[in-house]
């Protein structure tokens, strides 16, 4: 009886020790997790949550320039924004339209084109390394320099493009590329395609390189064409990566402002809502209107990206 009691007590002590060690370990791992998460969480709370909430608050306020006080303005900023878009006041309507054109450009033009380029270069065509490097160069040079060089190339009087067209006897095709509403937006889009392919190409090339060689070799033995290989093997295999670059491109469309600002100063039908936000804040100090524009585009962007994601996920399910 006494022996069994002693062994019970010993067992209890052992259990307690085990629990102590376990809880000590648990505390240590909790502490580790807390320390590791503290900075990103604090960063998120300050620079994401707080700033976005502050933007939301600003979007319902307007400034009295005589007293320096902000007043609650209800939906006035939103109404002003919608009025400006509908009436195309100060080209707001065009800027709104362009934001969605950029969405189409990023998703429907740049991503597919990048995929084609990545696939072609994966075939190890002559100079493929050179082409990869050339395509990536726009990502490592400052956008200010890139747009300046682009502007010089397309300049109407001493630019390379008009000079080339003249020498080829195609003088009738020369024009004021970046100063004409008929060509300015297309020209800015062409610039975006040129400067945007490199990054996507890098990501997609990596994904294509990871496709098991056995699959590609057996397909080759079956005698499929490059087109069939691209459609039936490459695209389904790298679909998750395509989804990633598509979503990145879609969200970026709602933040585009530097390209039109540097190439045309947003003139000739090339502005975007993001550029209007920058102009409102820097030139006019209209935080309320700028915030309302930012919130509106964030909501529309969320809806657009959700729809795109839904479509991408559906395709992924079909292929998995």
């Amino acid at each position: 009886m006494i022996l069994s009691d002693i062994s019970k007590i010993e067992n209890k002590n052992k259990d307690k020790k085990a629990i102590d060690v376990k809880s000590h370990k648990l505390n240590k791992s909790k502490l580790f997790i807390i320390i590791m998460l503290a900075w990103p969480v604090a960063h998120w709370l300050v620079f994401t949550l707080f700033m976005n909430l502050q933007t939301l608050v600003y979007s319902f306020q307007r400034l009295n320039r005589f007293t320096g006080k902000m007043r609650f303005a209800g939906t006035e900023n939103y109404m002003e924004l919608f009025e400006k878009i509908i009436n195309n006041t100060a080209s707001y309507g065009i800027a709104f339209r362009n934001t969605f054109l950029w969405l189409g450009l990023n998703v429907l033009v740049i991503v597919p084109l990048s995929l084609v380029v990545a696939y072609v270069l994966s075939k190890k065509i002559p100079f493929h390394r050179f082409f990869n490097a050339v395509l990536f160069i726009p990502n490592i040079i400052s956008i200010v320099i890139l747009t300046m060089v682009w502007s010089f190339a397309w300049a109407p009087n001493q630019g390379l493009v008009n000079e080339l067209l003249t020498r080829l006897g195609l003088e009738h095709l020369t024009r004021v590329w970046l100063g004409d509403p008929k060509s300015a937006l297309i020209n800015v889009f062409v610039y975006c395609v040129w400067a945007g392919i490199g990054f996507n190409n890098l990501i997609l090339s990596g994904a294509i390189a990871k496709i098991p060689k056995e699959i590609l070799e057996s397909a080759e033995l079956d005698g499929i064409s490059n087109w069939q290989e691209f459609i039936h093997i490459v695209i389904p295999s790298v679909w998750p990566t395509i989804c990633t670059v598509t979503i990145l491109g879609a969200t970026a469309a709602f933040r585009v402002f530097l390209h039109p600002q540097l190439l045309t100063n947003g003139q000739y039908g090339t502005s975007t809502i993001a550029l209007k936000v920058v102009e409102e804040v820097l030139a006019g100090g209209s935080y309320g209107l700028a915030s309302a524009a930012g919130i509106t585009m964030a909501v529309l962007g969320y809806i657009a990206v959700s729809i795109i994601k839904k479509f991408l996920d559906k395709r992924e399910k079909e292929w998995s």
Binding site: R62, F66, G68, F152, L282
Partner: protein, 457 residues
Amino acid sequence: MKKFTKVLSLTLVAVMLLAGCSGGGKAADGNASNDVAPSVPEDKEVTLKVTFFEAGFGNKWQNWLKTEFEKQYPNVTVELVGDANLTETLTPMIESGVDAPDVYMANGSMWEEWGPQGLVMDLTSLYEEKVPGTDMTLDEYITDVAKDKFYFDLGKENGGVKKYSVPWSAGPMSVVYNVNMFEEHGWEYPKTWEEFEALCEEIKAAGIAPLTYPGKFPNYTRPFIRGWQLQAMGEDKFFGEYKNPTSADIYGDTAVLESFQNFKKLFDKGYIMNGTTALDHTQVQMEFINNKVAMILNGYWLENEMSEAWPEGYRIAMAPVPQGGKVDKPVSFINMPDYMAIYNNTEVPEVAKAFVLFSLSPESCEQFAKLAGGLRPFNYELSDEVSEFTQTCQDVITNENYYQYTDASSNPLMFKSLGNAYLTQISTGEITPEKAAEDFKNEAATEYDRVKTDLGL
């Protein structure tokens, strides 16, 4: 989805409450505590941080100021910070107080917002101080044209006329012409618009483009657009109604339409250099330097901005906008976007004021002209030692034979937009001047009502 909707609704309600409650939070009452006389204490070491927009005017003048101020006050160290992106970086500095300067020199009009909010210091009492090297108070020393911009009438109930900043730089924005080219061809800068058109025809006949401006930045057409509006309205209407409106009707005046029509005429008659609309300021200025165009719409900073590009023996001159309409003299548009202000929470308000006052002396203004090619809207005279171009700039804004004015105003009710979006559309033939004037009028009317509501009028 239901949960998401609930969270979203709750967030929106919370935000609306927050927006409603935090209405008056920004305005500070710090001005009274900083109403000190400019002075420099001799018993302690002081560091004064001066941040400035480092662009067309460079940094030589600021370095001169630092040297001279430190020479006069050996216990003061002036810490200079030049920033080419100050327009973007200044707002977070002033509004958050992080890394905020004691004194800053910037362009724009943000002081109009920051003054009433208590973020920049009320300098009204500084205007009663004697300016070093003169017998005048700052109030007497500043030109009348500049008062339009820097005297901010908040209305009786908000403290009347306040001065939150002092002019840093202000000078002519007008037609700059190539003197050598003009002399070579025997051309003379015209006095009237009829003569101007005749001259443009002569220049065209010589195979040279008469005129250009940075097409990407239609704001450079301001001296012409405002000049035409002033000439069509006459000074009483322009200053009494356009700059200080009592209703938005003035923005539907035929003068606006006339200015847009005149602008279109410049393109229709082929006076504007081909390709202008696609070019930025550097590109058109290079075309001007390379003798491809005889005249350019530009400002007094041009010579300094392109200092490394001018060829040997170049000669350029600033000229007023030709006479026309109801004003019997050629008109000189004075551009005054640059200002100096003091951060309200500076720890050394008296030293900051002393520095600002020190920078206003005629000697300092002379150095600004010599070292930076800049001018200031004060009553001082320049010596002959400054460049020929700077002398012509000074002449344009002081010559009694010209009518000097500015469209700058601190009156929030004035619709200050030049109509840049309309001007680019007119320049490319997208819209007619009539449609532009109609849209301009509607935009101005909507904005006028909004500002009135904001001001509680």
